[in-house]
């Protein structure tokens, strides 16, 4: 599913080159639930951006489902983000001025799905995350946990193989966070590959395998199940 070989990433800060990732080698198989842990500044966010095709490696190779991402055009990357990856963000990142159901429709819109199909698929997904009765609410009228459920429904819109969650419980209280983790586990049981980036050990522990990143290196990994 995910294959990183010697991935490096450097940013130019002023005149200096800041090395964020120093050669990451990583394999995540189809259907795995993996958490990536590390302190802030460890490079885990940069790694997530590369895995999520929002950024490209400076050196090394990233293969997603066998395709080398480095050689893809901006348009191909957009299609990949649209069809293969579903993002879940810490701050939900719902568009504030459109209703929950319209938020869920967005990836379908960019996939060129017709209006009627978009609506029925979005409502079905909202029902699946327990948000059927909130479809016509604006995000501002939803609680944090409800927003994250809508965001997860949106991530599932095009039935992506990979769910990429960046601190999905970071902005939630403990109980709601656990509910979201439970929702992610359910999706995993249904066969989806889940990668969670977190610095919260409780969240990391929900995954089958945890990869620890420190200073742009993989320090160690811990396998619990699988």
């Amino acid at each position: 599913m995910i294959e990183l070989n010697g991935v490096r990433k450097a940013y130019k800060v002023g005149d200096e080159l800041l090395m964020v990732l120093h050669g990451i080698d990583l394999r995540i198989e189809e259907g795995e639930f993996v958490s990536i842990m590390g302190p802030s500044g460890s490079g885990k966010s940069t790694l997530m951006h590369i895995i999520g095709c929002l950024d490209t490696p400076s050196a090394g190779e990233y293969r997603l489902r066998g395709t080398s991402v480095g050689g893809l055009s901006a348009r191909d990357l957009a299609v990949l983000r649209n069809r293969t990856i579903g993002f879940v963000f810490q701050n939900f990142h719902l568009l504030p001025r459109i209703t929950a159901v319209r938020n869920v429709e967005l990836p379908l819109l960019y996939a060129g799905v017709s209006r009627a199909q978009r609506r029925s698929r979005a409502l079905e997904l909202l029902a699946r995350v327990g948000m059927a009765d909130r479809a016509q609410h604006l995000p501002t009228a939803l609680s944090g946990g409800q927003k994250q459920r809508v965001a997860i429904a949106r991530a599932l819109a095009n039935d992506p193989a990979l769910i990429l969650a960046d601190e999905p419980t970071g902005a939630l209280d403990q109980r709601t966070g656990l509910e979201i983790i439970e929702l992610l586990r359910e999706l995993h049981s249904a066969g989806r590959t889940i990668v969670v980036i977190t610095h919260d050990p409780t969240v990391a522990a929900a995954a089958d395998r945890t990869i620890y990143i420190v200073d742009g290196h993989i320090q160690r990994e811990e396998v619990r199940r699988g």
Binding site: D55, A74, R75, V79, H93, L95, P107, L109, Y110
Partner: protein
């Protein structure tokens, strides 16, 4: 995503910022509305001038006036100030001339009962209504017999009839001019284009030329109306008659062909109107340009404000093209709506002027369509830079933007 969905998305986004969208629209609206209104007034003015010229000259008629009347000023010693019987006879002697009539103009107090009004008097032949384009709305025009018989009859303009008779029926009533009672036999509406009646006023009394000469023996004949046979070269005939009259008067500039003058004045007026329309139109165009700059400015602000939204859309799989189009359509939607409203409001202004002044202001539909399309194009052009800026945002930085 089809075009309609993009527009409806743009509308949703514009609706969330109603006041700002409206103010941005206003710039375009004012620009387009002023262009439309100016074109309408310019067109109306031109039509009025051309109509006045057409109405000034009846078919196959040459109007000859003494020079003094053409260019008022201090009369030179011996200058011909009026047309006399011998001049009429000279004109009548030309081949191709069917009839020579004459017209007198002046002003007099017209009374009826205890009401009176200062009106312009136009006295002429039985076809005076054709010469000055009168439409008889009640009663009838005076006849050739009335002219020959020096009969005391008169036709009133609608406004004069209203002033003297109120809502009553003026036909058969009596009016007094210079102490002599005249019987009202008709009411007429001047069809001379309104631009002229604006200057001349519309209270007028029309009577046979002979009657007028009886009433005002010292009034001079102010115009000679030469009726030519159909198919005559009017310009040539007019020139020959004028030359003959001038030789007779012993003054090379004694008479002039006023029908020719009217059309040359008309051409000049029409030219002036066109130039004015262009100049004011150019100013309105600048207003539109300023409106366009306003759209661009607001779109830039909007792109900055919505940086995170753009980042989110990119993460959900929006291509750069999709982002570009989103903002382009938004910008074009603002200006297209503004343009449409501008066309409507500009047309209403034209209509208002038409009703208030009678100038036949009208907007040709290609101008309206063109203005609308042009405002949409302004939206696309002015949206291009902001939209491109949005499409080129780095998704990671955009997502982090607060």
């Amino acid at each position: 995503m089809n075009a309609w969905e993009m527009v409806s998305m743009a509308l949703i986004s514009l609706r969330t910022n109603k006041l700002r969208s409206f103010l941005t629209m206003l710039g375009i609206l004012i620009g387009v509305a002023s262009i439309i209104a100016i074109v309408a007034i310019g067109n109306g003015g031109k039509a009025a001038v051309l109509g006045a010229i057409a109405s000034g000259s009846a078919q196959n008629t040459i109007q000859i006036v003494p020079r003094e009347l053409v260019a008022p000023g201090l009369p030179q010693p011996g200058q011909v100030l009026a047309i006399d019987e011998s001049d009429l006879a000279i004109a009548a002697s030309f081949s191709g001339v069917q009839q020579v009539n004459y017209t007198l103009y002046g002003t007099a107090v017209v009374g009826s009962g205890n009401r009176s009004d200062n009106a312009s008097i136009e006295a002429g032949p039985a076809n005076l209504n054709e010469l000055t384009r009168l439409q008889i709305t009640r009663g009838h025009m005076f006849s050739q017999a009335d002219v020959i018989g020096h009969r005391d009859v008169a036709v009133l303009s609608q406004s004069l009839a209203n002033k003297l008779f109120g809502s009553g029926n003026p036909i058969g009533g009596l009016v007094t001019v210079s102490g002599v009672p005249l019987q009202v036999i008709g009411v007429a509406v001047s069809q001379q284009a309104s631009l002229f009646s604006l200057f001349m006023g519309s209270d007028a009394l029309y009577m046979p030329a002979t009657t007028c000469q009886d009433l005002f023996p010292n009034w001079s004949i102010s115009e000679m109306d030469v009726q030519a046979a159909p198919g005559t070269n009017l310009q040539n005939l007019a020139q020959r008659i004028v030359t003959a009259l001038n030789i007779h008067a012993g003054d090379a500039t004694a008479f002039a062909d006023s029908s020719g003058l009217a059309s040359s004045v008309g051409a000049l007026l029409s030219k002036v109107t066109t130039i004015l329309t262009l100049v004011i139109g150019a100013i309105a165009g600048i207003a539109l340009l300023v409106g366009g700059v306003g759209v661009m400015n607001i779109m830039l602000v909007s792109v900055t404000e919505r940086t995170q939204e753009i980042g989110i859309r990119i993460s959900l799989g929006a291509t750069r093209t999709a982002i570009l189009f989103q903002f382009l359509v938004e910008s074009a939607t603002i200006t297209a709506i503004g343009g449409l409203a501008g066309v409507v409001i500009g047309s209403l202004i034209g209509l208002g002027i038409r009703m208030a002044t009678g100038i036949p202001a009208s907007v040709p539909w290609p101008i309206a369509v063109l203005s609308f399309l042009f405002s949409a194009v302004i939206g696309v052009v002015c949206g291009l830079y902001p939209a491109n800026k949005a499409a080129r945002l780095n998704p990671i930085e955009a997502l982090r933007y607060e």
